[in-house]
Symmetry: C2
Subunit: 277 residues, 2 copies
């Protein structure tokens, strides 16, 4: 069943990458003024900043820190590189704890030419190697399945079934899944896998944007909700029916949007959030 | 198990689109001189030509006509447009019969924003509406599952499981599946679905190329075998173990290759076919 239109902004979260030209201060000021309820912080936007202070700043502006984006990238051909990836993920968990972000979103990684099942094994090992630290820090880890067009170099986890399988196999209350409509909308099993993931209590996040026709770039041509073909409201209905009650997180990489006026862009996001999400 | 390296060119087929700048005559002359054993004919290359004559020309040059590419594109919002698509597919079947191509490859189609399951229903209806004609013409129809990045506008059939399901549901000896490594390599179920499809006797074609990192364009940046991350030989092993004994069809859309010297390009294809397929 399709979800009802969103009546207010109380569950609207925006990823800072969506307004990439804005430094964190600007994003906080403009989002808060617009009534946005939550922020997902991309690591690059807090580079050189004190994450604890950044987190306080966001909360003082009346917004929630929804997630830190992104950890992961565990697979590597050399063991030393896999070890480095794990150390980097421990630092990311520290940052999330300092921000008081409840979870880190994981873009799990892949190595071009390395068998995907080997990369998945390394991903699982990488996540498990950080679990004790995540528990201590009180930070969850959200495996984000990525669209199959990113299976070469960004993630060997490409369907919700695979992400849920992995979360289930790791079997820790700290490990769940991020459901992003851009990556998953095409999947004929999506409804049933959302139901299953919800039943397991593993849906930690819900990301929205749209798929444009034509899509001009594999990375930086995502659409605003309503600009494309994704049945966002229908998928939101499935996610909510599966028990998810968290934020609707707008996450849009778009070179053309980033070159325009960011305040106008923010206003368009608010409109599209009500009309097409 | 990985297949053995290819010892000769007796199963090498090239799609005319791979050397797009060449008119059919040039493709026939150069492919035959190089020892290529089969041609898959793209419709655009025979536009304005007599297909029966084109087919004879290919056979007289010592090559097999492996397939006609491509039919399909059944879904449309309006019934009149779906009717037109069926009529077009009837013409395509006639062309294939005149060429003496054993099958037509189907890029099934999708309508941006129309639910994928509705498009799949229209695809099935479209195929079924042409079956009697295909039987009379002695032409098979090969459903080609397309990569999920084409689910918006090119095909609502995006996994081998879906294509095999559809072929099984239509339940005609005329309808099978084309397995293309570019579209399917990422699928965690690929090995088992190839086995299943083979058991049903439904594998009609096997297409090869590679996935480059980075891929610069969603349509026209396919790689030559060995240039990317697809385990081609491993997948060929699965297909052969599943009973397929037909051609290995090279099908590469590449703007950068099309702008270069096509004779050199053909030589590179021959080398890559032996070394990396």
């Amino acid at each position: 069943m399709e979800a009802k239109p969103l009546q207010d902004l109380s569950k609207l979260c925006i990823h800072t990458i969506t307004t990439r030209p804005w430094p964190l201060d600007d994003a906080i000021r403009h989002y808060a003024a617009a009534g946005v309820a939550g922020i997902s912080v991309w690591r690059q936007v807090i580079e050189g900043l004190d994450p604890a202070r950044a987190g306080r700043h966001i909360r003082e502006a009346g917004m929630a820190v929804v997630s830190l984006v992104r950890g992961g990238f565990y697979p590597a051909r050399q063991k030393t590189d896999r070890r480095k990836a794990i150390e980097e993920n421990l630092r990311i968990i520290n940052e999330a704890a300092a921000l008081e972000a409840p979870h880190v979103v994981l873009v799990c990684g892949a190595v071009p030419g390395q068998p995907l099942e080997e990369s998945r094994k390394q991903i699982r090992e990488g996540i498990e190697a950080t679990l004790a630290h995540a528990a201590e820090a009180g930070v969850k880890l959200a495996i984000e399945p990525l669209h199959p067009m990113y299976a070469d170099s960004r993630s060997a986890v490409n369907t919700l079934a695979q992400a849920t399988d992995m979360a289930e196999a790791i079997d820790s209350p700290l490990v769940g899944v991020a459901v992003d409509v851009y990556h998953l909308w095409w999947d004929p099993e999506l409804e049933q896998q959302i139901r299953r993931c919800g039943r397991l209590g593993k849906i930690l996040a819900f990301h929205i944007c749209d798929w444009k026709t034509p899509t001009e770039d594999l990375l930086y041509d995502r659409g605003l909700m309503g600009e494309g073909c994704i049945p966002i409201r229908r998928i939101r209905g499935w996610v909510e029916s599966a028990g998810f009650a968290g934020f609707n997180e707008v996450e849009i990489f778009s070179t053309s949007r980033w070159t325009g006026n960011q305040q106008q862009w923010l206003q368009e996001i608010l409109r599209a959030y009500r009309e097409a999400s």
